[in-house]
């Protein structure tokens, strides 16, 4: 028996709504034939049967939201038995094709008696009427009963703060999430809830990079940013550690050929992460110029769709704001993000001597579903090596 399941069209997709059955139970279908129309958040699409056979059972009623990965229909041989657990779970939801005309009126046994206003208030406050005991004539649930239930629900949400009044806080301004901030919020919460993030950190000496920046400035007059070195270091390390240059799509890890590092940029409207395509093939100076250009265009809201898509890894930096160490949220569907903090002079013990070195802390957050701790640590180690010997970055 084949299952026709709700596919995931994009990483953020949770479910789709069945809007039209193109086939009925008993219809014969050939492989890859569309059998159902589904409405996703962004688009409407058709879902095909994975193989030929007879539609044995439609499992989802029209208009229902079906979770990604959940079966919508069963396709098999005409005499093939339907698995018992599915038959039991899903059976009565869809009338068979020949019963389409008949209207089945189910007895409303469990429905409590409630007044119109009680019903409306319960609906608006998402209160389950079957959980309320009616105090009106004949046990009818009346407005007062719903108000008491609402009070009770509110009471349960209150923090236990002793017998005194709950402290209320004056709101001086409210900001409705919109535009970039909304997208950022959605992406971050998706990333946060749908990955298994693990953070590892490592210190790296930035002495050589700082020295090199001064030399480049002297030779060419060009200002190359520390971020550009870190981006290049990450890109180069990804060449050897492809597992981190990847994403997870359902049960398939996709490892990318191109290394396209995205750089998190703070704008007045919110966070963006434009992409430097083929980062590993570009020089540090080129990367630095591209970051400068992307930053300028981010500030002017002039980024194109191609600037914002196709990233395979992200680098983010809060060092400019005095942050030493932080664990950023993975930018979905990417596998990992590298954060680095402030570069500052610190005592470092080399052999038996204390030296002063410009140190920064690298923090790698990776999705443990895709990659384990050791390969992630090896990648981070490689980044550190490259940053401490920047000649290898050219």
């Amino acid at each position: 028996m084949l299952k026709v399941v709700m596919p995931r069209l994009d990483p953020a997709m949770q479910s789709g709504k069945v809007i039209e059955w193109l086939k009925r139970e008993g219809d014969r279908v050939s492989a890859e034939e569309p059998i159902v129309r589904v409405e996703g958040e962004k688009t409407t699409f058709e879902v095909n049967t994975p193989g030929a056979g007879v539609i044995r059972k439609l499992l989802s009623a029209l208009g229902t939201d079906v979770q990604v990965g959940q079966a919508m229909a069963l396709v098999g041989e005409p005499d093939e038995p339907i698995p018992l657990e599915i038959a039991a779970e899903e059976a009565p939801k869809i009338p068979a094709a020949q019963e389409k005309q008949s209207i089945v009126k189910l007895p409303r046994l469990e429905e409590p008696t409630a007044s119109p206003v009680a019903r409306r208030m319960a609906r608006e406050a998402s209160i389950d009427l079957s959980k309320i005991k009616g105090s009106g004539p004949g046990g009818r649930i009346v407005r007062e009963d719903v108000m008491k239930a609402m009070e009770l629900a509110k009471e349960r949400l209150k923090p236990v703060a002793g017998p005194s009044q709950v402290r209320t806080v004056a709101v001086v301004k409210t900001i409705k999430l919109s535009g970039k901030r909304k997208v950022t919020a959605e992406r971050l919460s998706y990333g946060f809830h749908n990955t298994v993030p693990v953070t590892i950190t490592m210190e790296a000496s930035m002495d050589k990079i700082l020295e090199r920046r001064v030399n480049v400035r002297k030779e060419t007059g060009e200002e190359v940013s520390v971020t550009a070195y870190v981006v290049k270091g990450a890109a180069k390390a990804l060449e050897d550690h492809r597992m981190l240059n990847s994403s997870l799509d359902e049960d398939t890890i996709q490892i990318y050929g191109d290394v396209n590092v995205a750089v998190a940029i703070n704008t007045p409207d919110g966070l963006v992460a434009p992409v430097i395509p083929m980062t590993n093939n570009k020089s540090v100076a080129e990367i630095s110029r591209e970051i400068r250009d992307l930053t300028e265009r981010s500030m002017q809201s002039r980024l194109s769709v191609s600037d914002l898509t196709g990233g395979t890894f992200t680098v983010t930096n809060l060092g400019g704001y005095g942050v030493e160490l932080f664990a950023p949220v993975i930018n979905p569907p990417q596998c990992a993000i590298l954060g680095f903090g402030r570069t500052s002079e610190k005592p470092v013990v080399i052999g038996k001597e204390v030296h002063i070195a410009a140190m920064t802390t690298l923090s790698l957050v990776f999705d443990h579903r895709i990659v384990d701790g050791v390969p992630a640590a090896q990648f981070l180690q490689r980044v550190k090596e490259l940053l401490e010997d920047p000649t290898r970055l050219d």
Partner: protein
């Protein structure tokens, strides 16, 4: 403020309008020499003369027809039909002539005619002299239907009815004629088509009409003692009906009783209940109850008549069923 009886307040309203406008004339049985069976027209023949206060033979169709003709001819007649029961005799004149001419003449004709009458339910007048069937009239497009419940409202609404350009059926309550109430000395006119909230409350709305308004107020006082606070609304005119005020109240209280003297089937209560359901279904916390007369001829026996009529106790009982 001074107090007047319902009958005296009406008489004052008639007199003021006759003084104000020479086109206002009265026509009816026993209204002149006998000064009206309920003395509403007392002294008016003496003051205004037989040209303006005209006694008629016993023919309700003739009274209504003559008054409608006079209205078309430029007067503002106030006809009196002694008992509401007799309105059936002149129903053709009212429903088919008075109510239609303005519309069928393309607005050229006006019928500024008031038909005063009274219903005697509660006065032991029997099945043929006690009837109250206002729905027959509020069902007829082109008529206005006024039902005053107090001396104050009776005077103010009668003056408005006389000044109105449309035919108005003005239904008085016989048992209210001798009741007294505050009536200001200074002149006032009340608008047609506007409810009066007689008492404010939060738990229940009682819409009461004509004689039953005082019963509703008595019921509200009893219910208040039991912790149920009642909004008592008097529509005062049921055509046009000020539904907005009633709906606003029901949205607040969630419960409605309509109390009136007509029979329950197809009556004022049925109409208001249906209209409120359309407008405020989602605000109702209980079914809508009608407190009205049973669907049967009005008994002559005083005991049976009292049992037949809506009263404060019946409203209290209905309220308790609603509030639980």
């Amino acid at each position: 403020m001074r107090e007047l009886t319902y009958a005296d307040a009406l008489r004052e309203g008639l007199r003021e309008e006759m003084l104000r406008d020479p086109r206002v004339v009265l026509i009816g049985e026993e209204i002149g020499v006998f000064e009206g069976v309920y003395k509403v027209t007392r002294g008016l023949l003496k003051e205004f003369g037989p040209e303006r206060v005209r006694d008629t033979p016993i023919s309700e169709a003739a009274i209504a027809g003559a008054a409608i003709g006079a209205a078309l001819g430029g007067l503002r007649p106030v006809a009196e039909i002694m008992y509401m029961d007799f309105l059936t005799i002149c129903l053709d004149q009212i429903a088919t002539n008075a109510a239609k001419m303005h519309f069928m003449s393309g607005g050229k004709l006006k019928v500024p005619f008031v038909l005063r009458t009274q219903y005697s339910l509660g006065r032991m007048h029997g099945a043929q002299h006690s009837q109250f069937f206002p729905s027959i009239f509020f069902q007829v497009p082109g008529l206005k239907v006024v039902l005053p419940s107090t001396p104050h409202d009776a005077k103010g609404l009668l003056k408005a009815a006389i000044r109105d350009e449309d035919p108005v059926v003005f239904i008085e309550s016989g048992v209210l004629y001798r009741t007294k109430g505050a009536v200001p000395e200074e002149e006032y006119v009340l608008p047609l088509g506007q409810c009066d909230v007689k008492r404010k409350g939060d738990d229940l709305t009682v819409v009461a009409v004509s004689r039953v308004v005082s019963e509703a107020l008595a019921a509200a006082a009893k219910l208040e003692e039991q912790g149920i606070s009642v909004d008592v609304i008097d529509p005062r005119t049921i055509q046009p009906l000020d539904l907005a005020t009633i709906v606003e109240s029901v949205k607040r209280t969630g419960r409605l009783i309509v109390a009136s003297d007509d029979v329950k089937s197809g009556g004022i209560g049925s109409e208001i209940a249906a209209a409120v359901l359309e407008e405020a279904f989602d605000s109702l916390d209980a079914p809508i109850f009608r407190v009205a007369s049973p669907h049967m001829p009005i008994p002559f026996s005083p005991a049976l008549e009292q049992a037949y009529m809506p009263n404060a106790d019946k409203i209290v009982q209905a309220a308790k069923k609603l509030v639980g």
